[in-house]
């Protein structure tokens, strides 16, 4: 009977009910999209690094795996790596930020093709001139580029010489020497990829290299998946925490306003229930059930909307952003939305439960 009353109450004011559900839904979408973007972009970066086909990644001293810092490792170090036991091939790259979360990567194409097996060209081909750029299909689609198009990056024009399938190293690649000159890092590298004679030797080689070069961060490609995580990005967990807290506040305010006006509007009905002998707990129960229903419907809507936000990301910015559907966060985001909603309903519910029956019955 109580459930029937709750559902009828929600149906009685469909616009308010739908707006509350939509607001809670957006709150859930906001959380799921943020976490999905964080995890999706990190996974995408790890996937492209693994796509190189190397076994070990070496970064410049003082840099983290996630940092977008420019080249600071001497290029000559490649000779040292090449001379190490079990190391079969070495490729050095320069990574330079070009705004937002995007980077441009400088490679020696011959070196890179040896280690990775080369790009798969969808159109065009390798570099012919120092101002040539190779882009992947995502970047080409996002920026409407074709072979022969000109793009402006780092304050100069570049000529698109090739469009390649995604999944290897970077979305935007130029000749290494050109990028080193432009970045003022002649003879410097950001990272070095090592391919071994046998992947089974990875841990042994890694241990030996760490002993010889203790200041250089080094990772096996196996490690990348776990290292490219939200908790390893400085400040990202805190940022997500802030967004979650804001979501709780939004959910609280939406439900507070919605239930507060609902209770004011239903003052007389609360009086009727009290005259029939409904206890404060009975009235509290009705309002909290309404809130739970709103929060559950809002959570379901929020989860569905996450697919919409992913579609928007994939369609509008496939090269800049990558969003993962984070199933593990569905119950977490729903629980957060529910907690915010229940918190928001507490005062209106308490007010209704404590309402004086006679005053409520005479309320116009």
């Amino acid at each position: 009977m109580v459930n029937k009353l709750v559902i009828e109450n929600l149906k009685h004011r469909p616009v308010r009910t739908l707006l509350s559900i939509l607001a809670i839904g957006l709150e859930v979408t906001m959380m799921l999209t943020l976490v999905g973007l964080s995890e999706g972009m990190l996974e995408d970066t790890a996937r492209r690094a693994r796509g190189v086909g190397a076994d070990i990644l070496v970064r410049a001293p003082g840099t983290s795996l996630i940092s977008l810092s420019s080249a600071s490792m001497p290029q000559k170090i490649m000779e040292f790596f090449a001379s190490q036991p079990h190391v079969k091939m070495v490729a050095g790259t320069v990574v330079h930020p070009i705004g937002g979360v995007n980077t441009i990567t400088g490679i020696d194409l011959a070196e890179f093709e040896r280690i990775s097996g080369g790009f798969k060209y969808v159109a065009g081909g390798p570099f012919r001139n120092p101002d040539d750029v190779i882009v992947d299909t995502y970047y080409a689609s996002q920026n409407n580029l074709k072979v022969g198009s000109t793009i402006r990056l780092l304050n100069r024009d570049w000529h698109v010489c090739g469009i390649v399938e995604p999944g290897k190293l970077a979305r935007l690649v130029i000749p290494r020497a050109t990028l080193q000159d432009l970045a003022g890092a002649t003879g410097k590298l950001s990272q070095v990829f090592l391919k071994l004679d046998d992947p089974a030797n990875t841990n042994r080689v890694l241990a030996a290299l760490k002993e010889k070069l203790p200041d250089y961060p080094m990772y096996s490609m196996e490690e990348l998946t776990t290292l490219y995580s939200v908790s390893n990005v400085p400040g990202l967990s805190a940022f997500i925490g802030v967004i979650v807290a804001l979501s709780i506040v939004v959910g609280f305010l939406v439900v507070f306003l919605s239930m507060y006006t609902a209770i004011l509007e239903r003052t007389r009905e609360v009086g009727i229930l009290k005259a029939l002998g409904a206890s404060p707990a009975y009235i509290l129960n009705i309002i909290l059930r309404e809130t739970v229903l709103l929060a559950l419907a809002g959570s379901a809507l929020g989860i569905i909307l996450t697919y919409g936000s992913r579609w928007a990301v994939v369609t509008l910015a496939p090269a800049s952003l990558s969003q993962k559907i984070v199933y593990g966060w569905w119950p977490i985001a729903s629980a957060i939305a529910l907690a915010g909603a229940l918190f928001g309903a507490l005062y209106p519910a308490w007010r209704a439960a404590r309402q004086d029956a006679i005053e409520a019955l005479t309320y116009e």
Binding site: M1, V2, K4, L5, E8, N9, K11, H12, R268, E269, G271, I272, L273, K274, A275, L276, G277, A278, S279, Y282, A357, I358, L361
Partner: protein, 226 residues
Amino acid sequence: MSSADLVIRARDLRKIYHVGEVDIHALRGVDLEVLRGEFVAVIGPSGSGKSTLFHILGGLTAPTSGSVWVHGRELGAMSESQRTELRKREVGFVFQKYNLLPTLSAADNIAIARHIAGNRQPLDERFQKVLEMLGIRDRLRHKPRALSGGEQQRVAIARAIVNNPSILLADEPTGNLDTENSTIVLGLLRDLNRRLGQTIMMITHNPEAAAYADRIVQMRDGRVVG
């Protein structure tokens, strides 16, 4: 007359409302007895204290002083939760403005009163007859907005007696009705009293409505005057 025959007994009942710095004496020492199976009309002008008496007898508010027993239970000593229990089982209300829940059908308005009282049994044969008598069996699926004033008031009467209360308290039950519907509702109250033995106390300012009762209690200025 044994105490078991007394459904309501009030002694020197007083109620003072504090409005700002002014004390309003709504009841100034009311003595009243209502016997089981009686149909009593309390009549008086506005401000005579009859609504305050209605609220106290229904357990909606406590008296300032004096004693009142409903079905042998002293209201003055009751806590808020005990008065809530009293409203569940001992008292049924009928209001001037019907006070049906607008989101529920007529049937559900009756059902929720049973649910609040913890009654999960199907409606008994006696109550089916009551619904027949009230002439609302065919209107139970409708929501209040689809019912006429007279029909809404008959649903409200059904809701008030569904838990077999000791007394049905009706506050100006025909105040919002036209003459035809008023006659029907008053006739039904009398039928409920005569055929089912339902004890009824009706508040009204209308002498014609009061004439349907077995006994008329007159109030003026917070006192019973006749």
